[in-house]
Symmetry: C2
């Protein structure tokens, strides 16, 4: 379907179709809706960028940029895009739906070839606006179950939760706590289920008092760590929702005069570079963030070329990295 | 100067001038040189972006993206750009001059409104290509002394080196080592001079055996830390080139059974978020990376609007943040 044919079918001028495709606001809403509906029905494949290919961009969008986590993802996207001569436009979507509409406008105006969305989601209407222009969307580490037609790259969260907890059970811990990320987020649920499965397999009771939740920042780990250590029968091991939460548990342990790993074993999640360098070096579940980002970018660029990849959803493997923050209990 | 007048003066067509402005390669080199020379002489102010403003981008370029450091800078640039409805294009320049030429092509093709370059530099020819299109360049944390006409935002490195070393001297340390960043980089030189000034002011000898250099990664800190601790008369305090190097010194101390701060005081540089959470929490010099990035972006966008800011070069203040990695010597 060419722009000329779209214009004819919609009964509007070619410049008007072009304005709709480029997300301009000076188009009557009814016209915009009619053109978008036609594009949806007949398809339209955009040419790449205005500058003979060298101007091509891919959009990378984070919910928030304030974590050491983000740089791991950025590096993967940048590496794959650069190899194809495509520039990366980075943005923070925030939580304001109005701001997100503005962001979609800007993606359309720049004629980005694809969007990689990290640990976040778009409203159906926003997804539809991208789809109507043939701009593919790939989600990295989806927070919910994306709609069937949205490609996504995640990692094996259930297996990660299982491996972390099994490691602690095998060391002989029977009071194993978990601090989870927000429970409404898919990866948190999967890790909690892995934790439960490992405890049950080891014949250990799942004590609800030992399961805490919090966001993915250090402070949440401090808070949950304090509460766990203040229990009458405190845990001897904690599986934290991510490495930052684990650092928070380190802090709570220091405050309470609890030694790691002698009095308390701690396992993190992600394996950020800092995990190697904290004291003691952190046992953690490696989530291949950079590889996930690379895979998502390859998938997004492949879709933008009109290819039909075999797999639109992939979970990459996680693995346990044992360092010095875990040991057998009862060494006190 | 309009495109039409430039074309007339150069004796070429309007589309040819347009091609030169947009960095297209299908222009004879002699023609390109002639047009660029005219633009340089007479000036030319670009309109903003092809998409009615919403497509406007600013380019943020790192020498390398693999450090927790980068995210602090990215956040500042993204925040200021977003407030003006401008998207951020992120790239890693690498060290290959050919790849950098390709990157300049892509900036021109995308008609970026400005470039923010971090801890890096461009060849004069590449700077000239940007200048010829009226695309302003601002350098954050310049590695060398930028040419007079290049705006830059740095921080008070000499004062930072002085404050860190004075803190250690005031605690009573007389054997204070320094691990510096690469000595050909301006900020390293300034910090070394601050270190020397503090020692001399305190009446302490500057011992060349206690001054080490390395790149800004953890491994360099491990290596330098090992060598310092292996000296016949080892230091009782180390001022590291950045927080990552300081973590390397932590690692070397652990290996050698040296306790921090009981046996060895350590000061870092940057105050990355992780400095608060390592064990023990790191005393460090706070470099306001996010603010530096914000200031540089404001300056770049102001220049892109044709404004003439009063200050094209600024150094923001640094400050010492005392945590638990420093103490009086001789507690062993």
């Amino acid at each position: 379907m060419t722009i000329a044919k779209l214009a004819e079918a919609a009964g509007v001028s070619v410049p008007t179709v072009s304005k709709v495709l480029n997300g301009r606001s000076d188009v009557a809403p009814a016209t915009r809706t009619r053109v978008e509906e036609l594009i949806r029905r007949h398809g339209y494949r955009r040419r790449r960028g205005p500058g003979g290919g060298r101007a091509a961009t891919v959009d990378l969008v984070f919910h928030e940029l304030d974590s050491a986590w983000a740089i791991e993802v950025i590096r993967g996207v940048e590496r794959v895009a650069r190899a194809e001569g495509i520039s990366v436009v980075l943005s923070e979507s925030g939580t304001d739906p109005g701001a997100r509409d503005g962001w979609v406008d800007s993606v359309l105006a720049r004629q980005s070839v694809a969007v990689v969305l990290v640990f976040s989601d778009l409203a159906a209407a926003q997804r539809a606006r991208l789809a109507a222009r043939g701009i593919p969307l790939v989600i990295v580490d989806p927070t919910g179950t994306p709609p069937d037609d949205t490609p996504s790259i995640g990692s094996a969260n259930w297996s990660g939760g299982l491996a972390a907890t099994r490691h602690l059970a095998e060391l002989g811990h029977t009071r194993v706590a978990m601090i989870s990320g927000p429970p409404d987020v898919l990866c948190s649920r999967a890790r909690i289920d892995g934790y439960r499965a490992a405890l049950e397999t080891a014949g250990l009771r799942v004590d609800p008092a030992l399961l805490r939740t919090g966001d993915f920042h250090v402070e949440a780990g401090v808070e949950a760590g304090r509460r766990l250590l203040a229990l009458a029968d405190p845990p001897t091991a904690v599986f934290a929702g991510n490495d930052l939460q684990a650092l928070g548990v380190y802090e709570a342990a220091r405050e309470a005069g609890v030694r790691i790993p002698d009095d308390l074993s701690v396992v993190g999640y992600d394996d950020l570079p800092l995990a190697r360098w904290v004291g003691p070096p952190l046992t953690t579940v490696r989530q291949p963030l950079t590889e996930m980002a690379e895979e998502a970018t390859r998938l997004a660029l492949s879709l933008s070329r009109g290819e039909r990849p075999a797999n639109l959803r992939l979970d990459l493997a996680t693995s346990l990295v044992v360092r010095q923050s875990t040991a057998a209990p009862g060494r006190r």
